[in-house]
């Protein structure tokens, strides 16, 4: 079983609030990712990182930001939550060796009211 953790698992928050979704992995993986997934839909990449101090935007336009100060930690922040941010957020990591088999966390289900 992959050692990648996300907190909180569920979050209900009001519009305009600032939130940070936490993701940590203990596998020493260089590459980490954030995906957004709506029910019955494919995963959409919103951010990724090749390693410490590296952050990149994914294919899906997002109003969130990420940071990578430590290898094991890759938090995602929404400065001002909106109802359109309601979704499942999945964090993943992989070894940076060419073939990116990804190991996913359990996800954070976010509801913005």
């Amino acid at each position: 079983e992959a050692d990648i953790y996300q907190t909180p698992r569920y979050l209900v928050i009001g519009t305009g609030k600032k939130i940070t979704l936490e993701c940590s992995q203990t596998m020493g993986h260089d590459k980490m990712y954030w995906y957004q997934q709506d029910p019955g839909m494919e995963l959409h990449l919103i951010h990724y990182s090749y390693g410490v101090n590296s952050t990149e935007k994914g294919d899906l336009s997002s109003e969130s930001t990420v940071s990578r100060i430590r290898t094991e930690h890759f938090p995602l922040t929404l400065e001002s939550a909106r109802p359109s941010h309601t979704s499942q957020y999945l964090c993943a990591s992989s070894d940076h060796q060419g073939i990116y088999e990804q190991y996913f966390g359990p996800g954070t289900r976010l509801t913005v009211t």
């Binding site: 019955g40 073939i99 990116y100 990804q102």
Partner: protein, 111 residues
């Protein structure tokens, strides 16, 4: 446009009834194709990586195969605990940052 298409969207089988799930892909060059299992409310769980046409991999009742245009996930004599959504993803050659996921096939095995 690079695409990953999975079919069927949903599949209901009786316990013991074998079947196959399909993943067809269109990319300029394949680096790797991945299969994942996702249970409701959880993150995807990695199953297999396939690298080249003709390759096969097995795990318990699951066998994944790969051709130049598609991959199949064969499920032999499934059990109710095999019920889940199965996701296919493709990593494109020379685009290490681009992994494309399909929408998945929801599999339900009836006891």
């Amino acid at each position: 446009e690079d695409q990953v298409t999975q079919s069927p969207e949903a599949l209901r089988l009786q316990e013991g009834e074998s079947s196959s799930l399909n993943c067809s892909y269109t990319v300029s060059g394949l680096r790797g194709l991945f299969w994942y299992r996702q249970d409701p409310g959880k993150g995807p769980e990695f199953l297999f990586t396939l690298y080249s046409a003709g390759e096969e991999k097995e795990k318990e009742r699951l066998k994944a195969t790969l051709t130049k245009k598609e991959s199949f996930l064969h499920i032999t004599a499934p059990k109710p605990e095999d019920s889940a959504t199965y996701l296919c993803a493709v990593q494109e050659r020379n685009r290490d940052d681009k992994i494309i996921f399909g929408k998945g096939t929801r599999l339900h095995i009836l006891p």
